[in-house]
């Protein structure tokens, strides 16, 4: 192994690759990032290494919301990456967001979830909101002054979004919302909530509408913080709307557009979940290789045993395959936002299943130490599980892909 790499560096091959940089240690391919994109990676990498990694065990233990880290990310301009420049953002897309998220998730999937959730909350405004609505909300979200949250799920409406019970009734120049949203990431921390509610049940899929609800609106409240298996520092709560009265101009797009906005939002945001799997998988690989190099059994570092080194190799193969897929999918989504469903489902499923497998294997490589909370890999394994569940379970993703295949081959 060493000999091969020594030879290729003599040929000058390694110099051209980004693989030699510390944050790409264990990576395989050069993705030909622009100078600006490299800057995004660099800014996020330093926040990961200097702020997130030292605090992640504490945050996991205490379930404290990582406000200080998120504020530093806002100060570093990361909250506006995917928001157009005219609204105070950086003017990038899903790909630029993915580059930052990968680094943040390498440090802690909980912090990365709290960060990404603001994007998920902002996308409905971005994809369907009026010009006035964008001007009102996006600059604050881009600056990280106010966090956003996306409120879709209810106790009876998870994978089946048609089970939504929350209603909105027009009353003069106001809407009155009633219902309870469940497991809302950033609830209680965000100031801006994009909420879907039924406005006309008779109209079926066209009977739902999205609204912007602010935390200061009358009738808005949140439930207690849920106790979770992983991503424990992120805030997950109920959003309770009880005769919550909001002005008419809070309708996102127009009445009846709710489900379409939700679908478009999730198509754009899923590569962001997929990349959390890549960052997390990379972090697990890093820990496993480092440990295998220094752990001595039978008189040798365990990396010299084929049983271990093949596991590490398989992990590296899977992480890089997922990275290549997610980068390509994010670029596709930016170029073809109207044809984003299948690529975003494909990359979300592959990369998050990969993260689950790779983190389980990392615990195995570390053996008994891997099972101890003193080492970071057991947290990584706990954190990985949610990636296969939220923003559409991987079973729902496979439904989407299967339906697309069925349609494509019928033509």
């Amino acid at each position: 192994m060493d000999g091969f790499f020594a030879d290729s560096s003599l040929l000058g091959i390694n110099k051209k690759l980004s693989g030699g940089e510390p944050h790409r240690k264990g990576g395989v391919l050069d993705y030909f990032l622009t100078e600006e994109q490299e800057m995004i990676v660099d800014v996020a990498r330093r926040i990961c290494d200097e702020m997130i990694v030292p605090q992640r065990a504490h945050l996991d233990e205490t379930e404290e919301y990582p406000r200080e880290i998120l504020n530093a990310m806002a100060q570093a301009d990361l909250y506006g990456l995917y928001i157009p420049e005219e609204y105070g953002g950086f003017g990038g897309g899903a790909f630029e967001m993915a580059l930052a998220l990968e680094q943040v998730a390498r440090g802690c999937t909980g912090v990365a979830t709290a960060f990404a959730a603001s994007g998920l909350g902002a996308y409905p405004i971005l994809v369907s909101g009026s010009e006035e609505m964008k001007e009102k909300y996006l600059p604050d979200i881009a600056a990280g002054k106010r966090f956003a949250a996306f409120a879709l799920t209810e106790s009876g409406a998870g994978s089946d979004a048609s089970g939504i019970q929350t209603t909105a009734v027009q009353d003069g120049d106001h809407w009155v919302l009633n219902g309870t949203k469940q497991w809302i990431t950033n609830a209680g921390e965000a100031g801006i909530y994009t909420v879907i509610a039924i406005t006309d049940r008779k109209r079926g899929a066209r009977g739902a509408t999205m609204f912007v609800v602010e935390d200061t609106d009358p009738g808005f409240s949140v439930g207690p913080k849920e106790k979770k298996m992983g991503i424990r520092c992120s805030s997950t709560r109920e959003v309770i709307l009880k005769d919550c009265r909001i002005p008419a101009d809070r309708v996102i797009g127009r009445q009846g557009l709710g489900f379409i906005t939700v679908m478009k939002t999730l198509d754009l945001s899923r590569p962001g979940i997929a990349i959390l799997g890549v960052g997390l998988g990379q972090a697990a690989l890093d820990e496993a290789v480092r440990y295998a190099k220094q752990r001595v059994q039978f008189g040798k570092p365990i990396i010299s045993f084929q049983a271990v080194s093949h596991m590490l190799a398989d992990m590296a193969i899977q992480v890089e395959a997922a990275r290549a897929l997610v980068y390509a999918a994010a670029r596709h989504v930016d170029a073809h936002p109207d044809k984003a469903s299948k690529p975003s489902s494909v990359c979300k499923t592959f990369a998050t299943d990969m993260a689950m497998k790779v983190t389980v294997d990392a615990v195995q490589v570390l053996g008994g130490y891997g099972f101890m909370r003193e080492y970071p890999v057991e947290k990584m394994m706990r954190d990985a599980k949610i990636l296969q569940i939220y923003e559409g379970t991987n079973q729902i993703q496979r439904n989407v892909i299967g339906q697309e295949l069925n349609k494509e081959y019928t033509k």
Binding site: M39, I47, A72, D77, F90
Partner: protein, 259 residues
Amino acid sequence: MKIVICIKQVPDAKDVRLDPQTNTLAREGVQSIMNPYDRHALEEGVRLAGEQGGTVTVLSMGPPQAQEVLREAVACGADEAVLVSDRAFAGADTWATTHTLAQAIRTIGGADLVLCGKQAIDGDTAQVGPGLAERLGFPYATCVKKVLSCTDGVMQVQRLMDDGYDTMAVQLPALLTVVKEINEPRLPSLKGKMKAKKLAIKTLSAADIDADPAQIGLPGSPTQVVRVFSPQARGERTIFQGSVDEQVAQLARELQQII
């Protein structure tokens, strides 16, 4: 308010070695970073400029590669960067350095406030701040851990002392050196990095700053390093606040942690 921050590029403390022949630092092949105390000076300057209105100029004396730390300072919020660089400056001790920096500050139009780190982690003299203040004729406060106020040209500051802290007032223009307790330095931002990449760094030579040839570089440096040794370490101190009962409770908690 025009704020000038003096920053120094230093070898990363993780791999510092001494040249046994000359008793000076071996700098060959060692990674360079911004002096950690200077990061705190920069943060305080950026914070004050944001609060009071004003500009932040970072200033460094060093070889051309010191541009790297100046760009990093711009990425962390500084507005402008000036490098004083000339072969004639090589080998400067604190005497020669303070002359050079003072001349550079005069050349760029002076300053209302100069901020320096308490000391650099390579030379560790803590002389450049006070020396520069003397050269400029500015009042100064060293080891500042908190800026209490800045109104009508007077700054109220707290200085970290071995046995607590002093509170004092300085009339602007002034110079402060800061300790790491003063703030939590920010990391580079995306917009800052993009600005830093495009920014043309002003470079000044010995002639540009009208430096006295007898007071710069090795010939202008009277210092000779005779011996290098580690001083005796002194322990960390904590001063408990509040009522007697509260202080006793805090002491009991601390003791319990030790036991």
